[in-house]
């Protein structure tokens, strides 16, 4: 790949790294990443992947920017309140790096549309904020063999894991069943320190770039837990579950047809 003068300057700190170089930067430029959610996690992931020069970034979210989002959702601003989040993010990312082809999808991801939407993308990022969507994304990625950078945040704690179907665990191996609605706090009760999604989303973006580059170790058989109050990172081994409903030896979930991911969870 031939870089323009501008690209050589823009990506010079990548090109200098022995693990990246011009060849690695060309891989980043060819990559296609699908980000689910334009909220606390999706914003920093999209921000860093745009800055890094990922060739194509799709972002899906059907929500609108609200004032209460701005304490943590760094792609949005006071001026974009009321706008669809994906359009607000598009404006930010296009201003940051015109090299990136940004695809804004103002809709909700569902069992009916997910496989068609993520088809053709190399890596999926889960920036959703509720359990039904998290299981839905996991199942679709396992069925399609797509790497998934998954994360969750609550109050002062964040969790990150990377799912490489067929190689390591999946989200169902980690948490077999969805917790019953009502057991997990709703968005209104939950609260989150604004920096937390930045840190956790930053880790997800790093996992995505390492998958693209094929360098280093990703969290493919482990869960990383960050406690912001104690300032600790804990890396826990996660075995693959041979009886897993979607990635086990005898899976019972073999398609997204008729799957039920309902539940009264807050979708904020």
């Amino acid at each position: 790949m031939d870089f323009t003068e501008e690209q050589i300057l823009r990506y010079s700190r990548h090109i200098i790294l022995p693990e990246i170089g011009g060849k690695g930067q060309a891989k980043i430029a060819k990559a296609k990443v699908f980000i689910i959610g334009a909220g606390g996690l999706g914003c920093p992931v999209g921000f860093f992947l745009t800055a890094a020069g990922v060739g194509t970034i799709a972002m899906i979210d059907d929500d609108f920017v609200e004032l209460s989002n701005l304490q943590r959702q760094i792609a949005h601003s006071t001026r974009t309140i009321g706008m669809p989040k994906v359009d607000s993010a598009r404006a930010t990312f296009e201003a940051l790096n015109p090299d990136v082809d940004f695809i804004a999808l103002k809709q909700r991801i569902t069992a009916e549309n997910i496989m068609q939407l993520i088809d053709g993308y190399d890596i999926v990022v889960d920036g959703s904020d509720n359990f039904p969507t998290r299981y839905l994304i996991n199942d679709a990625c396992v069925l399609m063999g797509k790497p998934l950078a998954s994360a969750a945040i609550l109050r002062f704690e964040g969790q990150v894991t990377t799912i490489i179907p067929g190689v390591g665990h999946c989200y169902r191996c980690l948490f077999e069943e969805m917790p019953p609605a009502g057991l997990v706090p709703s968005c209104q009760e939950a609260g989150v320190l604004g920096v937390l999604p930045g840190i956790i989303g930053g880790l997800q973006a790093m996992e995505v770039l390492k998958i693209i580059l094929g360098k280093g170790d990703v969290l493919k058989e482990s869960l990383l837990i960050y406690d912001a109050l104690k300032t600790t990172f804990r890396k826990v081994k996660v075995p693959r579950n041979p009886d897993c409903k979607v990635c086990g030896k005898h899976p019972t979930i073999t398609s997204m047809d008729g799957a039920n991911y309902g539940g009264d969870y807050c979708q904020g």
């Binding site: 870089f3 050589i8 010079s12 090109i15 200098i16 170089g21 060849k23």
Partner: protein, 81 residues
């Protein structure tokens, strides 16, 4: 010592760090292992840093020569892909 014939020549006079190395690295990446790159530069700091960075990347620095008051020539052999 004048028997090394470079496969490629790169003129980065006028460039400063880190672009001196960025240019050199992109050029050597495009070459085959065993081939020799000649770099002509006029940024003094880079006459030290480029050889070090090239060694860090696993390449062989064959020669660093000050050819006049303000210019240097560095010869590097590509060792790996």
């Amino acid at each position: 010592m004048d028997d090394i014939i470079p496969n490629k020549k790169l003129d980065i006079r006028g460039l400063k760090c880190p672009y001196t190395f960025v240019r050199s690295k992109l050029t050597i990446e495009s070459m085959e292992p065993g081939q020799v790159l000649e770099i002509l530069l006029d940024y003094q700091e880079a006459s030290n840093s480029i050889p070090k960075s090239m060694e860090d990347h696993g390449h062989k620095v064959l020669r660093v020569e000050k050819i006049n008051a303000t210019e240097w020539i560095i010869l590097v052999r590509k060792e790996n892909d």
